[in-house]
Amino acid sequence: MLDAAVRRALADAVGAENVISDPVRLRTYECDGLTGFRQVPALVVLPRDAEAVAAAVRACHEHAVPFVARGAGTGLSGGAVPVADGVVISLQRLRRIVEIDPVDRRAVVQPGVTNLDITRAAAPYGLYYAPDPSSQQVCTIGGNVAENSGGAHCLKYGFTTNHVLALKVVLPDGSMVTLGGDTGEQLGPDLRGVFLGSEGTLGIACEITLRLLRAPETVRTLLADFPSVRAAGEVVSGIVGAGIVPAAVEMMDALAIEAAEKAVHAGYTLDTPAALVVELDGPAAECAEQFEQVKAICERHGCTRLHIASDSAERARIWKGRKAAFAAVGWISPDYIVQDGVVPRTRLAEVLDRIGEMGREAGLRVANVFHAGDGNLHPLVLFDDDAGEAERAEELSRSIAELCVELGGSLSGEHGIGTDKACSMPRMFGEVDLEVMGRLRSAFDPRQLCNPGKLLPTPRLCGERPGPYRPHPLEEAGVIERL
């Protein structure tokens, strides 16, 4: 429970009318997009401007109350799960597009603006904001900054971090600073860069300056079916090997296609073992030239059907099928878990074989949808909670993420570590690595009040030991020893 002094201080900071304390309304904030982790906060504040955010953080700091920033709550790693007896600072009311500057091709926005609204505001100038997470209609740019969100087109265009020039940040002590600047230049160590993807643990971004890109002259999209996931994977390698950097390369397996077709009828072939969506964009002549190359590579690897989007409506339909795939598995399974892991692209076929085996062993189906160009997998573990399969499904899902690390990849490509994977971090990083990350966190937040319990493993979350001892890869290589 928060004491009365804290409640008063927060009401003073944001205005009493912008404080939620009614238990029923507080329940709205108990989880994010990963609904398995729930915690009702003690209080929610909805500041109306950056100064009020800073005042709220200062109040929390002074009274040593933990706080969690929250955007649209679409995150998939439990990064915005409230802290017991803590405060949620919602950025939903900071949703102003401050400036679209078509000359220097930049946008200045508040954190509660949705990703897609930035592109909508830039479109009249022939500009757009490149990162496009699947949830872009609802997710906020503040959340994208916290998670360093990617999307289907990040193979060519990069992630949020590559598109943020500057951040006005409220630090965990309530002071306000600017990280980054008007260009890619910064003086001294790149704090802007380390803040990006810090999952709300280093402060709250209250104003964000973004790069906008000129919309490409042409976009060409094809949908191709293959007799096996392996053949589709070879096509991806073939495209990259030919020196082509596609705007997007997405793969779906039979189960994912079945679900997507049931949900949105996007024109995918049922029963094909694998389908690839390949999109090229850029100057028209070059796009056409490379598109022919891609078609030839597809045919060389036994493509069974090749469909080229003839206009933007058809292209949108192909993407609708792909982007609907997550939610669509609800049509073929009562419950599911979305996983997010990364492997080096050359190990895609191997990891998919292993996932198939693990699924069979666990007696659970796994649908695969992924960004094949950068090896970012999104296995969907299907299960039935009523049949008591939940625990097995969670176990399988976690094993898949850890398998990605074993194969030289990462625990997360875009959803973040949050609450969900904090206890898996020792699989990817050594104890010392994590300790040094903790020091970085302390430099920003010495009192550990800003989104505590996320990203790094804690004894409370993971048991007394932060995870099983595992030799550091450098130890295994004989490069270092345990000192």
Binding site: V103, D104, R105, N148, G150, G158, T161, N162, L171, T178, L179, G181, D182, T183, G184, E185, Q186, L187, G188, D190, L191, G193, V194, L196, G197, R214, P216, E217, S237, G243, G282, P283, E286, E289, P344, T346, D374, G375, N376, G409, S410, L411, G413, E414, I417, M425, M428, F429, G430, V432, D433, V436, M437, L440, A443, P446, L455, H472, V479, I480
Partner: protein, 400 residues
Amino acid sequence: MTTSKTSGRETTGPVLQPADLREAHEALAGSVGQVHVRGGGTADGWADALRPAPVTVDTTRLTGILAYNPADMTVAVRAGTPLADLQRELAGNRQRVAFDAARVRRGATVGGLIATADSGPLALAYGSLRDLVIGATLVLADGTIARTGGHVIKNVAGYDLAKVTHGSYGALGLLAEVVLRLHPVPAASVTVRLPCSLAAAAERAAELASTSLEPVAVEWYGSGVTEGHLLVRLEGTAEGTEARARAVAELLGPGAFTVRGDEADAAWREHADLVDQTGNGAEAAVLRIGCRPSRLPGVLARIDPPGTGVTAGLLTGIATVTVPAEPAGVAVAHTAVTAAGGTSVLRHHPATAELPAWGQAPSAVAVLRALKKELDPDTRLAPGRFGAWFTGNTGGEGAR
């Protein structure tokens, strides 16, 4: 580990030359006192001057590729590897690190280029090294070895410590190993050149930015701001690049012409010579500037460089300007940049001159100070590089 007695700089003790991560750890864990970290020595005179230190860790033996799988388009290297050497290896597979800072040709190392936050004309299309580094292994001042990132381009697990090494001038840790994202070498590259003033070039560049012609570099260079050359580089497939080059030449107007191969290389070399003036003229100081592209011509006009060299990235907002090495003039230049909301830092300057190295310190300098304390509590590394940032007195510009 190789140890030698002198480094040719103001050190009073040993020069340690680790050849691998273990030796890099030993060099820092086993030494006492303040430390200079030195790579290729191509940016010795950048930022604030180092104060003398008893130990130098020299990374010129910390070289070599650790892992390179061309199909994954990533490479892991020891940080002392000269980038030019790495590029030669990668070229065999028609791949590259899409990065072209001028001093690469003088043997700048991967680690040094990251630590100094350097970049070249290609930054317009590919960003700087912070956009291309996907993993790193650092050795902290006490020898602690910390790994960050990984070997895959898409990865959001943990804090990205590599980012804080970018622009750190070695003050937070020694970069021992780096994993880089690679790009394909384009099939064709054509440059369009137009002799013109900076102001005229800026207008053309703004027009170019409103087309879909996708130049990968747009730079102006000249001696002052009135006479010089605009260079626009296009890369891509053979036919498509030629077609776009024609369109760019048409947009730039009468006097524009295309250059390729050796001729293009020579034009870009002239540009690089002005950026990289370290060996040229003991009396001059070189300032690196970043500001909104639309404000850049105005800022450069206010600095009014005396005809010794200007380069301007007209769409990146990054410029290099050579000014006389006297404190008042350099301070005026910093002020002009700060007034336009930009950043400025001294690069080369004569060893004898006492000049304000940094423009206005960042507003988050207190965080930097806290970070320094966490990672290098005894302030061993790179003493002096950031003037008074880490000691608390950052009032005014270029505290020194």
